[in-house]
Structure formats: C-alpha cells, structure tokens
C-alpha cells in the first residue's frame, strides 16, 4: 500500500457534511482567532514575569494587568481552539488522528499540562500579582503553557510527514504503542509561531490597552508609556520574526519544494510589520488599525500553514478539494441558525464588556446596546423553540 492509497483509505467513509474547501476556510479563520489568544497568553505571561523581575512603578502596574490578562487569554485560547480542532478533524482526519496516535502519551498529557499552566497563572493573578509574590508560579505557568505549545507543534509537524509514519510506528518492524517519542519538529517554525508571535500579540494588545483607557486623564502618562512599550516590542520583535520566517522557509519550505515562495511570503510579512511599527509614531491613536494589521498578518500565516500542508500531501496525490462530501441540510440549518444567534449574543457580551470597562467612569451601558441585548437574548431563547421544532419535524416526518 503506497502512501497515497493509505491516506485515501484513512479518510472517513462518511465524508464531510459540506464543501471541504469551505471547511478549510473556516479552519484557517478560526485558527487565526485561536493563535491570537494563545500567543497573547504567552506574551502577557512573559510580560508579567519581566515586569516583576525588574520592577519600577509603571512596570509593576503593567505586570499586574498582564497577570490578570494571562488566565483570561488562556481561557479564550482554549475556547477558540475548539473550532479549528473540529475542522481539522473533518478534512485532515488521516493526518490529525495519525499524528495524535503516534504521539499518544504527549497528546493526552497536553491537557494536564494546560491545566497546570492555567491553574498556576490564576494562582499568580489572585494571590501573587499584587506585590509580586509567588513569581515562581508565573514562571512555572509560562513554562507549562509553552510546553503545551511545543506538543501541538510536534503534532502538526508529524502530521505533514506521512511518508515517515510507519517508520515511527514500527521502527525495525516492531510496533511501538507507547507514543512517548517526539518524532518531528522544526525549531524555526516553532520560534516563528510561538515566542515571536507572542511578542507581537503582546505588542499589539499593549497599544490597544492604552487606547481603551485613553480618556482617563490621570492615567494618560502611564497609558502613553504602555503604548510606547508596545511599539518598542513590535519594533524589536518584527525583524526577528522576519529572520525566523526566512529560516522556516529555508528548512521546512525547502523540504517540501516551496522554499522560495515561502521565503518571499514570510520575509515580506516580517518586513512589512517592521516597517509598520517603524512608522507607527502614534501607537495609542492607531491601536485599532494595528490590531487589524496584526489579524491580517496572522491570516497570512494561517494560509502559509495550510499551503505547507497541502503541498506536503500533494506529493501523494491527496487533495482537500477531492475530499468526499454530501450537502447535509440538517447540519447546515442548525449551524446557520446558531451562527446568527451566537454572533449576536457574543457581540452583545463584548459590547457590555467594552462599555462597562474603562472608556467611561460610570460604567453604564448605552440604551442602544441594551436594546440590542434584549434582541440577542430573545434570539437565544427563540433558538430553543427552533431546536424543538426541528426535533419534532425529525421525529415525526423525516423518515
């Protein structure tokens, strides 16, 4: 059985419930959200540690904010990570399941490592961040969260090398069911995706933080300082990002025969970001634009990851566009309606958080947002009526 036949055989016989390329788009888009929060968690964790290690008044204040941000970013990283996890299993099932099973012990350990990292981040926020006590918990949290990222990196790296799976599963003809070996990795890719993107996500969020609290006059000097730190981090990290991108292209890109296009794309991205931060003279005022620029960059990286995967699989004649599918109207109906309701409610929640936070001292929510909240909550209630109707229709008529 050659690799192409093997991959075809491993595809689930049920096929996908919708056009696979559309699910691929959803995979990339949701991954962007996920990696933003994941890198933000790492960045804010590192920021809080650095601030408490070399304290000044401003750094201590920023360190406390970062310590509070870390566990919330981890929480959002987990939640947003579920969506790409769904789509990767649907259209890349042979890759995802094989890499997880080959690395079984670490795949299972991932969750315990995350629990440790998250728990320690909360411990530091709740019990240590007021005066910098329990700094060890922040350091240990950072190490565990980074290790969890390493595990996911290895899973991704194993998944795009199907030609080596059998050699890893049965070295010398003896199958190994322990799953304890880290079979594959690429340090430039890891450096690019995790620590450097963590720095850039942090840089962007620092400017955004300053922008959010810009109207509180007595905090203005601190906020200006925070925004400047954000720009400075961006300015320092983005050239390194360019270099790591180049190395990623020179190693993994070359391995899959796309070294030059990958090098051009990643270097251009890094240089564009360097230029952006260089010319960003008023980081606080332009923070929303900076966030958009960063999301566009992450989207580019998401596409690059997907291209590498596609090129790797193309070697064996395996294409997502040829993944078998049906149009499952039941799935689409439920998902479509829930999307409308979910987006409305999450938007309302985000608006409440935004308006009650720091832009206005009284923390009140505007009447228009209140009105929108009534509608969104009503939609959420109505979702249950819709769900029961679909259930009744299915039970009594769909036969």
């Amino acid at each position: 059985m050659d690799i192409g036949d093997m991959l075809e055989r491993m595809r689930d016989p049920l096929g996908a419930p919708f056009y696979p390329p559309a699910l691929q788009v959803l995979l990339v888009v949701t991954w962007v959200l996920h990696i933003f929060f994941v890198t933000l968690a790492l960045g804010s964790s590192a920021c809080s540690i650095a601030c408490f290690l070399r304290p000044t008044d401003y750094r201590l204040r920023l360190g406390r904010v970062a310590a509070r941000l870390t566990p919330n970013a981890v929480g959002l990283g987990i939640v947003t990570g579920i969506a790409p996890l769904l789509f990767v299993q649907t259209i890349h099932d042979p890759l995802w399941y094989a890499s997880n099973a080959l690395t079984g012990f670490w795949s299972v350990s991932f969750i315990f490592v995350m629990m440790g990292g998250y728990g320690l981040a909360y411990l530091f926020y709740l019990k240590g961040s007021a005066d910098g006590k329990l700094l060890w918990s922040a350091v240990a949290s950072f190490v565990l969260l980074f290790f969890a990222g390493w595990v996911m990196h290895v899973l991704a790296s194993v998944s795009i090398r199907p030609e080596r799976w059998m050699e890893w599963y049965a070295p010398n003809g003896v199958i190994d069911t322990r799953g304890v070996v880290f079979h594959s990795w690429n340090i430039p890719r890891l450096t690019f995706l995790l620590p450097l993107q963590a720095g850039l996500s942090l840089a962007v969020v620092l400017t955004l933080f300053a922008w959010y609290f810009r109207r509180i006059e007595e905090d203005a000097p601190f906020m200006q300082w925070v925004a400047r730190q954000g720009r400075l981090i961006g300015l320092v990290v983005s050239p390194l990002y360019t270099l790591a991108g180049l190395l990623w292209a020179a190693t993994e890109g070359v391995e899959f025969g796309i070294g030059i296009p990958l090098g051009v794309a990643l270097t251009s991205l890094g240089l564009a970001l360097t230029s952006y931060f260089f010319f960003l003279k008023q980081p606080m005022q332009h923070a929303p634009r900076t966030l958009l620029v960063w999301f566009a960059s992450l989207m580019t990286v998401g596409v690059v990851r997907e291209v590498i995967r596609a090129v790797s699989l193309e070697r064996f004649g395996y294409r997502v566009s040829e993944y078998p599918y049906i149009i499952d109207w039941g799935s689409i109906l439920i998902f479509g309606v829930t999307t409308i309701v979910g987006v409305a409610v999450v938007t309302y929640l985000a608006l409440v958080l935004y308006q009650s936070g720091g832009t206005k001292r009284d923390g009140s929510v505007s009447p228009r947002v209140e009105q929108f909240g009534s509608i969104a909550t009503g939609m959420l209630g109505a979702w249950f009526a819709f769900f029961i109707l679909v259930g009744l229709y299915t039970t009594f008529f769909l036969k």
Binding site: G15, P17, G75, I78, D93, Y118, M166, G342, V365
Partner: protein, 468 residues
C-alpha cells in the same frame, strides 16, 4: 487503520473515562449553577435583596476560575483522549456532526465570554443588565448540553440514521430526549453540592447563607427525584435490548452499581441533611459530596459507554475501529467481510505485511508468529483490554489493568494456544464481544501471542514455549 496507542501504566480507555467523568461533573455543575444564580439574581433584583450579590459574586468567581476553564480544558481533554484511544470512533462522530459541534462551540463561546462579562461587571452595570447576563449564561449553558447530548446518545442508538443516513435522524435519536432530561435535572443535584461549597465558605455571619443552602438542597433533591423518575419511566424502557442484556452481564462489574447506587443514596441523605440543618454544613462536607458525585458519575458514564459494547457506534462500528454494517443511504459498505478473505495484515494502514514484522532482539518475543499475533491482538483487542504489561501498574502487590486478557484467559483456564484459538473462534457468542476478524492463520497467531502473554503473567519462565 490508525496507529494504536495502548496507554502507559494506565489504559487509554481509562484516560478517556477519568477525563470524561471530570468534564461531566464540571460541565453539569456549570449549567445548573447558571440557572441557580439566575434564580437568586432575580430575587436580588425584584425583591431588592442586595446581600445575595455576595454569594453570586463568589459563585461567579469559582465558576470562572474552576468550572468554565477547567471544564473547557477537560472538554478538550476528551477530544485528545478519545482521539488517541479510538480515532475512528471519534471520526465517525465528527463526520456526522461537525456542524452540530460547531453550533455547540457558539454556545460555549457564549458561556465563556458570558462568565467573563458576568464576573467583571458586578457593580459596573445596572442590575437589569446584569440580570440579562445571568439569563444568557443559563440559556447558553443549556444550549451546550442540548447539542452534546444528541451526539453522545447517537453512539448508543443511531436510530433511523441507519436507513436515511441523515444526521438529523442520528441526532434526534430514540434516547436523545430522555437522556437530555435526565441530565438536565441531575445537574441540579450536582449544583447543590457546588452551592454548599460556595455558601459554606462565606463568612459565618452572612445571613443569607442558610437560606441559600436550604434552597439549593431542595432544588437538588427535586432534581434527583425527577431525574430518577425519568430514568426508570422513560430512559431505561427505550434502551435497546442489547444494552439491557449488557447491563445484566459481567461486562459491568458489580462494584460499578454499588458505587452508583451508593453515591445516589449518600447524595440523597446529604441533601436531606443540608435541608434540615443548613447551619451544620461545612466546606469539607461539600467537598466530600463532590467526591461522592464524581465517583457516581464515573460509574454511570462508564456504564453508559459499556452498554453498547462491543461497538463504539452501536450497529455500525466495533471497538476494533472497523465498519461492520452497510449503510446504503451513505454508500458505505462493511469493511470486515473482505478482511476475513484477505486477512488483516497488509490490508489496512498501520497493519504491516507479515514479512515486514520483525523478530529482532529488541522485540523480546519468541518468534515471528507471536510477533504477528501481537500486532493483531493490539489491533483487535487493545481498545477494551489490557494486552501487554505496558498498560498495567502494580500497587502493593496488586496488579491493576483494564480487563487484562491474561487475567481473563487464566480465570477461564484458557492458557494454551489451541484452547485460546478455539475460544477466539466462538468469541462473538458473548453479547459484549465482537467476532474475530481475519483469516484462520491470523487467529492462530493471535492465540500464540495470548498464550505467551498469559504465561508471562502467570508462569515463572520468562518465555512461552513455541508450539508451532
């Protein structure tokens, strides 16, 4: 079809069970706690009882730190553990229900952003706005429960999906509604323990404490009684006959029922105690109640998983990860029948051809036939049984392994290859066992490996005698 991860020290299936039980405890607690908080917050707003916010804020912090994120992590943990324990089982679910899971993800997003908004806006937004957030949390949480139960119950009763191939038929299957309602009401029992944990950790002078405990205990008792009523009058009667047979079979050890029934009785008595004497409650008692509930949930969830044995998806896919029935509506044909002709080895990915299986010094097994048998036993049996020393631990001279095949065969005096081979030939006669798949030669190789495994465990000599 995929590499097998047996587990290390602990069997892969036990990793799934432990993580799942924790997730069920936390997620159920979360949903009902949202309803309980909504109830209290309505009273706080409409009866002008600001003291209730003290409890609500403490509860919200606990939910934010513990329940939502650890619950979510355990949810991801279920993905990871099921993926490595039985990839094709989870693949079937994902390919049928990915967009239902996508819908659940929206509800979950509402939950997590909602609890952040709920906690951080105490005192920062008007009471009415905050009450709306409480409504959103309660509805969002119930949405997640509703969507996941359809997928879970499909595994036991795919129902009309077999004939129509429609995901909706698989989702709204015969056990969907009773399972949903049983879980919904039982959640309030779990939440009662949570409420007691939070309320008893508030200062003694907090005067709403006893009232809150009493209310939670009453709701918990009511939930328990209604859930048991639904189980006996609706859920159990619609279980497939096969599941009822398994319930009464040795596939479920009696200790499981002892733990479940004991846990329910202890919970019932504990709630009565809280109702009658709310002043005497203590965080230690509440923690104890949580542990008892964890044990009972562990037993109940294991039972739910076992009653569809030997299938991972009842009537469609066995624990060996092979499709064994045709689904014409989806153009799916049984994968097992051709394998009985061609043999397993070399016919499926990750099952090497016999000649490529090595008998190197590293393997430590006596000969090539035993090595072949090991590969086949791992593929066909390792999903439910401990088939090697890798998945066993010894604590105080007590060897712990999940349904160890060595132990089972030795108990039945099937310790030689001919006896084991004959046993394998009729293994499908047990209601909880799937027939052997492959050629007679492969069955003989499996018997040789199992003989080796039994003798490794129970005979003093390090290697079994090779018979063929």
């Amino acid at each position: 079809m995929y590499p097998v991860w047996e587990g290390i020290f602990i069997h892969s299936a036990m990793f799934v069970a432990i993580v799942s039980a924790f997730h069920v405890l936390v997620s159920h607690l979360t949903v009902a706690a949202a309803w309980f908080n909504l109830y209290l917050e309505r009273r706080a707003v409409y009866e002008n009882r600001p003291e209730l916010y003290v409890y609500l804020k403490r509860s919200a912090l606990g939910l934010l730190v513990f329940a939502y994120v650890f619950g979510a992590l355990a949810g991801v943990g279920i993905w990871q553990t099921t993926t490595v324990a039985n990839p094709r089982g989870i693949s079937t679910l994902i390919h049928n229900f990915v967009l239902y899971w996508g819908s659940e993800w929206y509800m979950f997003l509402i939950d997590v952003v909602g609890i952040i908004a709920y906690y951080y806006t105490f005192g920062r937004v008007s009471p009415r706005t905050h009450l709306r957030l409480a409504w959103i949390l309660a509805l969002g949480g119930t949405g997640t429960l509703t969507l996941i139960v359809g997928i879970l119950s499909f595994k036991l009763t795919p129902g009309l999906w077999f004939t129509t191939g429609e995901s909706l038929n698989g989702f709204f299957n015969p056990t969907f509604w009773p399972q949903l309602l049983t879980r919904f009401f039982l959640m309030f029992t779990i939440t009662a323990a949570w409420v007691m944990l939070i309320a008893t950790s508030l200062p003694k002078g907090y005067f709403a404490r006893e009232q809150i405990i009493r209310t939670a205990a009453a709701i918990g008792l009511g939930g328990l009684i209604i859930a048991l009523g639904i189980w006996f009058l609706w859920f159990y009667p619609v279980l497939p006959d096969h599941a009822k047979t398994i319930l009464r079979s040795p596939a479920i050890p009696p200790i499981t029922f002892t733990v479940i029934v004991g846990g329910l009785i202890a919970t019932f008595l504990g709630l009565l105690f809280a109702l009658a004497m709310p002043r005497r409650q203590h965080p230690i008692i509440a923690l104890g109640a949580m542990l008892v509930l964890f044990a009972a949930i562990f037993g109940a969830e294991r039972t739910r998983e076992v009653i569809r044995k030997p299938d991972i998806i009842a009537g469609y896919m066995s624990s060996n990860q092979l499709v064994f029935n045709d689904i014409p509506a989806r153009g799916i044909q049984s994968e097992e029948e051709p394998l009985n002709e061609t043999g397993m080895l070399g016919s499926l990915p990750f099952l090497p051809r016999p000649e490529t299986i090595s008998v190197g010094a590293t393997a430590g097994l006596p000969d090539h036939q035993v090595m072949m048998g090991r590969v086949l036993v791992i593929q066909q049996c390792a999903a439910c049984h401990s088939v090697s020393n890798q998945t066993a631990i010894t604590i105080f001279d007590q060897r712990l392994a999940l349904r160890s095949l060595a132990q089972l065969l030795e108990r039945r005096k099937m310790t030689t290859a001919p006896k084991i081979e004959a046993y394998l030939q009729r293994i499908g006669a047990f209601p909880y066992m799937h027939p052997f798949v492959g050629t007679p030669e492969e069955r003989a190789a499996m018997a040789l490996y199992l003989e080796y495994f039994v003798q490794q465990q129970y005979a003093p000599q390090p290697q079994a005698q090779v018979r063929r």
